[in-house]
């Protein structure tokens, strides 16, 4: 159940996508998101879909993993689609009952939004699937470094982010252990009525919070023992360096974006 959570998960590999410079990957992801949101025509969106499919194939990560990344958000997606479907009242009316109207426009918009958000999740999952959390935060730090001039604590923010990402799997593992231990004492977590389940959540959350605080404390002590004091003058173990393929990937992405935007204008 918890293993289905794929946020921040990284699949080691050596595909073209894995090898791209993480800074470029972040910029490309941003352009990709913009691409998905340009133009309201289904053709513009299919440009995005083609781009996503190509990137997924290049990444050599099983498609199943992308389905998994969308799964936890499925209820929200369906809810949004349902709301769009029921409450958009322009276009041809197919079905009318009291205040509910199902119209051609409603169907269009809800299907459109569904595809758009699915693509959005898949594309951004690709970023974390193919980039280790450490390089990812390194890249974010580098991309945001101009903000240091404005006294924004970029390094600290990046550090917090990498710690948070680093601990997601640890906390999931911890939760599973605690759940197993409480199940062994007969706690009903997967079964039983809503009230018993809610009550039993306490038996999981209390130990989980205690251990999270303990871990945070231990980590802080360990960092201080090693004289950690933030970003000023720190050098890096892994230098980020860009290669021609990074510029090529960026160029291709911009091309796709331009294509989607142009189609959007033409088809309006």
């Amino acid at each position: 159940m918890l293993r289905d959570i794929t946020i921040g998960q990284y699949f080691p590999g050596n595909s073209l996508i894995h090898r791209l410079d993480p800074r470029f990957k972040i910029v490309i992801t941003f352009i990709y998101i913009m691409m998905l949101f340009t133009g309201d025509h289904i053709v513009c969106l299919s440009v995005g879909a083609v781009f996503t499919a190509a990137a997924i194939i290049l990444s050599q990560i099983p498609f199943k993993m992308f389905v998994k990344s969308v799964k936890p958000l499925m209820p929200f997606l369906i809810l949004t689609a349902a709301l769009n479907l029921l409450f958009i009242s322009s276009g041809d009316v197919y079905f009318h009952w009291k205040f509910i109207k199902i119209t051609s426009e409603g169907i269009n918009v809800s299907v459109f939004m569904l595809i758009r958000i699915t693509l959005l999740i898949m594309g951004s999952s690709l970023l974390t699937y193919t980039t280790s959390p450490i390089t990812l935060t390194d890249a974010i730090e580098r991309l945001l470094s101009p903000l240091k001039k404005l006294k924004v604590p970029v390094h600290e923010l990046a550090m917090m982010m990498s710690i948070a990402l680093r601990f997601i799997p640890t906390l999931i593992e911890e939760t599973e252990k605690i759940m197993a231990a409480q199940k062994a004492r007969g706690a009903e977590i997967d079964s039983g009525s809503f009230m018993t389940r809610a009550k039993n959540m306490v038996a999981i959350l209390v130990p989980l919070f205690i251990s999270a605080f303990r871990r945070a404390d231990e980590l802080a002590t360990a960092m201080e023992c090693r004289c950690y004091r933030g970003g000023e003058g720190r050098t890096r173990l892994r230098q980020l360096c860009s290669a021609p393929r990074d510029y090529a990937a960026l160029a291709v992405t911009i091309l796709f974006y331009g294509g989607a935007a142009a189609l959007g204008i033409v088809l309006k």
Partner: protein
Amino acid sequence: MAILETQGLTYVYSEGSPFQKTAVDHVDLKIDEGEMVGVMGHTGSGKSTLIQHFNGLLKPTLGKVLLDGEDIWADKKNIRDVRFKVGLVFQYPEYQIFEETVFKDIAFGPKNMGLDEAEIRKRVLETAHDIGLGEELLERSPFELSGGQKRRVAIAGVMAMNPKVLILDEPTAGLDPAGRDKILGHIKAYHKRRKNTILIVSHSMEDIAGFADKILVMNKAKLFCYDDTEKVFARAEEIADIGLDVPQITKVFIGLKKQGLDFGKDVYTMEYAKKLLLKKLAEKGGTKNC
């Protein structure tokens, strides 16, 4: 009669993903009622995965687990009853403590069983006594206790369900020698009084040698052997080959045997070694200084 039995038990983690791994591979096993079993094995040998099958926390990929001769997965609805019959104490169980008082935390299991107040109270007091927790501790917050005391509270939480089979995964990990002896002592006394089946996973051969009637050794997801303690330790060299250790004192006696001093028996506890040595010394009449 065998209380716990496995038939071709196999478990595969993350089947079909790049992380696929067989953790338990065709294990056939019969554990008799009332036995005290030591479970040994390297980190990653599959022993923790194996014991999680005994109370139905994990469902076998292949094969069966029989409790009292009945397949525990025959009816999915009964799996909770299996968990009450087979109590499992995890590694570092003190991290599962969550109630405000020691009493309430120990009572969590019995309460889930649906027992009445009086019975719960009786069981908590009984178990607290069994595991050596004074009554004055019962109304304290478990988070104020020492590490060893917390560990005992957590163990009591499972014992209070009065399981037919009690499984403890490394109950002494991370404790000092005094705390370790205390916990093992209490478990031994509990076993003697209740006569239920107990399985203890441990890395310390000295610990296992001190209490186990039988030893189960796991190696690379397979059952390496399951036999009487002396028979297992008699295979000292094979056990060393799979990267496990026999007790120090057994090694000393193997060394002595190589030097020509054969006691004709395998020695794995200090007590027994002392007895043998004193007897040998007395035979020689060497009573000069002792």
